[in-house]
Symmetry: C2
DNA sequence: CTGTTAGCGCATTCAG
DNA sequence: CTGAATGCGCTAACAG
C-alpha cells in the first residue's frame, strides 16, 4: 500500500475514476466474478490466482464500493447515532463509547446531533432509513425519531432514556436509585432543607431522578414541598436568572441537589456569584460527574455514571439484535451509578 | 407522514421489505421513471400525477435508497470526520461545529475516533473511500490517513493542524500568535521564570505554540532554556509523575504556560496537590479555554479558540471544494484566538 | 409530458 | 475451480 506508485503517476486535473472490480479483473487477466471471490474470500479460487488478483487490487488502489455492495442486498455496515447535544460532555463521552465498540466491530457510525430540536432528530432518522442503517442508537430530543425508525423496522436501542415506544432495546442508568443515594447522603449529614434543580422532566430520566429525590425525603420522614423543586424546563426566564431568584428566595436551604451536569454548572456558578460558602452554607451534589467537578475547590460530590460504558453496552446490544436479524424480545439494561463523595457536602453549618 | 397506517398494518415477524420506487409507481399506476421525476422534482411531470405519486409514496412510507442513488453516480451525501479523541472536549466541540454545518447542508457525517491510534485512523480513511465520501475533515493522530485520502483523490480539509501533505485545505488557529500573547501577558506582569508544558510537538500545532513561547521570551530579552520546557510527548514516565517531578525540581518558576487543555488539567491538579497558591506563588495560563477553567477559583487565564466555528468553517470550506468538483488551489484559513484574562495570572509574588 | 431502455459496481446464481 | 449472466434500486438518455 506504500509503494503504490499511483500517487506518482499523477492525475493533473480532476480525479481519475476510482478503480473498479472490472479494472482489477482485467489487470489480473481473469473474470470479474473470480476477482470478486478472490477478494471477498468466499468460494473457491486457486491460490496463485488469488495472489495475482490481490496484487492487481493494491496496484490499482482498489477499494470496494459499499453502495454497490449494499444495493446488492448485503449489509450497509452503517449504524446511526443520534444525540441531543454533542457539546455536552455527557453526550460526547456517550458517543465515544458507541463509536469505539462499533468501529471495532467494523461498522461505520453516522452521527447526528439534533441540538435539542426534534425536527432535526426526525430528519436524522429519515436519513438513517435512507442509508439503510442496520440499526440506530438514540438519545434524541423528541420521540418522533424513535417512532419513525421503529415504524420502518430499523432496530433501535435507546440510551440514557426511554421514549416508551414499544419494540426497542434500551440501556439506561438507575436514575431513581442514584438520585436517592445522593439525597440520602445529604439526609445522613443532617440536612432537612434540600432543594432539587432540574431542567427536563418530560423524559423518564428526569422524572426518575425527581422520584428518587422524593423517595429519599419520604424515607427520612422529611416534608416534601414544591417550594424546594426548581424545574427549569417549565420556566420562562433564562435559566441563570431562574436559579438566582430561586436561591435568593430560599435562604433557609442548606443543600442543593443538581439533577444533571448542566444544572450543576448553573448552581455552582450562582453560588459562587452569591459568595455562599460550599459546603459551609450550602452543600451541593450533582447527578453526573464531569472532569471539572474534581478540579474545583471543594470538589463536587457527584453521582457518577458509567457513560462511556453505557454507550459501548448499547452498541453491543444493538449489534446483537442486528445479528439476530432484528427479532426477539426487547431488553432494557439498567446500569448502576455510584456516589462519589467529595468536599462539597458536609453537615449543615447553622 | 403521521397518519401513515403502515404501522397498524403490522409486520408480525421479520421486516417487510422496504417499499421501493417500483412499488410507489405501481400504486400510483404509472412508470418508475415518472415516479422518480415526480419525487425528485426534476423534469416535467403533470401536477395531478405528481400529487398522486406523492400520496402513494407517503402511504407506503417510501424512503429513497441512497446506495442506489449513489451507485447511479450521484453524490453519496456523506462526509467523513476523523478526530483523535472525542472524549477531549476540544474535539467534541469541533465535531459539533462540523456536524452542525454539514447536516444543515443536507450531508451525513460519518464519525471516526482514532483514539490516538494511527492504524485506526488509516482504517477510517479507507472506510471513507469505500463509502465514497464526498470529502473528509481531518484532525487525526497520524498522517497516513491524510496521505491515503489525498492519494485516492478525496477532497480533504484538515482542521486544527496541518500534516504537510500537499493538496488539502486547512483551517487552523494562529497558534504562534496565541501562545505568544499568553506568554507576553506573563512577561508584562513581570515574570521571568516561565515554564511551558506540552505533550505533542510532532504536529505543527504544538511546534507553533512552542515557537510562540520562545518568541515572547526572545522579544522580552529573557533567557530561553531547555530546563523550562517540559515535553510530555517524549517522556517515559506517566504524565502526572513527570509534571510533579518537573515542578518539584524548579522551585524558582513563577509561571507555567500549559500548551493545551490536557496539560492544563495536569498542571492545575499538580499545583493543587502541592498546595501552591495560584497566582500567589505560580501564575498559570492555558492554551484552549474549557468550561472548567471558569469554574475553578481563581479562574484560569486562557487562550480562547473559536473551536465550534473552526469546525463549522472547515466544513464550509470542504463543501465549497466539493461543489467545485474537487479542483482549485488549496487554501489554508487561519483563525485568531484571543486571550481571556482571569485570576490565575498576577505579578510574581516574591 | 410520459414510458422504455440501459447501466452504475458488486455478489451470486448457474453452467461449464 | 472459473466465467457468463442476472439483478439489487435508482436516474438519465432517448423515444414516443
Amino acid at each position: 500500500m506504500s509503494n503504490d506508485g499511483t500517487a506518482r503517476t499523477g492525475t493533473p486535473r480532476g480525479r481519475r475514476p476510482r478503480a473498479t472490480l472490472r479494472d482489477v479483473a482485467e489487470r489480473a487477466g481473469i473474470s470479474r466474478s473470480t476477482a470478486s471471490r478472490a477478494l471477498g474470500g468466499h468460494g473457491y479460487v486457486a491460490e496463485h490466482i488469488r495472489e495475482r488478483v490481490r496484487a492487481a487490487a493494491t496496484e490499482l488502489g482498489y477499494v470496494p464500493d459499499v453502495s454497490a455492495r449494499t444495493l446488492k442486498g448485503r449489509s450497509s455496515g452503517v449504524v446511526g447515532l443520534l444525540v441531543s447535544d454533542l457539546r455536552n460532555q455527557f453526550y460526547a463521552e456517550l458517543a465515544a463509547g458507541v463509536e469505539h465498540t462499533l468501529s471495532s466491530a467494523g461498522y461505520q457510525v453516522v452521527l447526528v446531533d439534533d441540538h435539542g430540536d426534534a425536527e432535526r432528530a426526525a430528519d436524522g432518522a429519515r436519513a438513517f432509513v435512507a442509508m439503510r442503517a442496520e440499526g440506530v442508537l438514540l438519545a434524541p430530543s423528541g420521540r418522533t425519531a424513535t417512532e419513525l425508525l421503529v415504524e420502518h423496522g430499523t432496530p433501535v436501542t435507546e440510551v440514557d432514556r426511554r421514549s416508551g415506544v414499544r419494540g426497542c432495546d434500551a440501556v439506561v442508568i438507575d436514575n431513581e436509585h442514584g438520585s436517592r443515594a445522593a439525597v440520602e447522603h445529604l439526609v445522613e449529614l443532617g440536612h432537612e432543607q434540600i432543594a432539587v434543580v432540574i431542567d427536563e422532566t418530560r423524559w423518564d430520566t428526569g422524572r426518575h431522578r425527581l422520584r428518587g429525590y422524593r423517595a429519599a425525603l419520604l424515607a427520612a420522614g422529611l416534608p416534601r414541598t414544591r417550594r424546594h423543586v426548581l424545574d427549569l424546563g417549565t420556566a420562562e426566564r433564562p435559566a441563570q436568572e431562574e436559579v438566582a431568584a430561586f436561591l435568593a428566595d430560599r435562604p433557609s436551604l442548606t443543600a442543593v441537589f443538581a439533577a444533571n451536569n448542566v444544572v450543576a454548572e448553573l448552581v455552582w456558578q450562582e453560588l459562587k456569584r452569591r459568595g455562599e460558602a460550599v459546603p459551609g452554607e450550602v452543600s451541593v451534589v450533582s447527578f453526573d460527574d464531569l472532569a471539572w467537578m474534581r478540579m474545583v475547590e471543594p470538589g463536587l460530590t457527584a453521582v457518577r455514571q458509567p457513560v462511556f460504558d453505557m454507550g459501548a453496552r448499547a452498541a453491543e446490544l444493538l449489534l446483537g439484535r442486528v445479528a439476530r436479524g432484528g427479532g426477539g424480545r426487547s431488553t432494557t439494561e439498567v446500569l448502576q451509578p455510584s456516589l462519589v463523595v467529595r468536599g462539597s457536602t458536609a453537615e449543615p453549618g447553622r
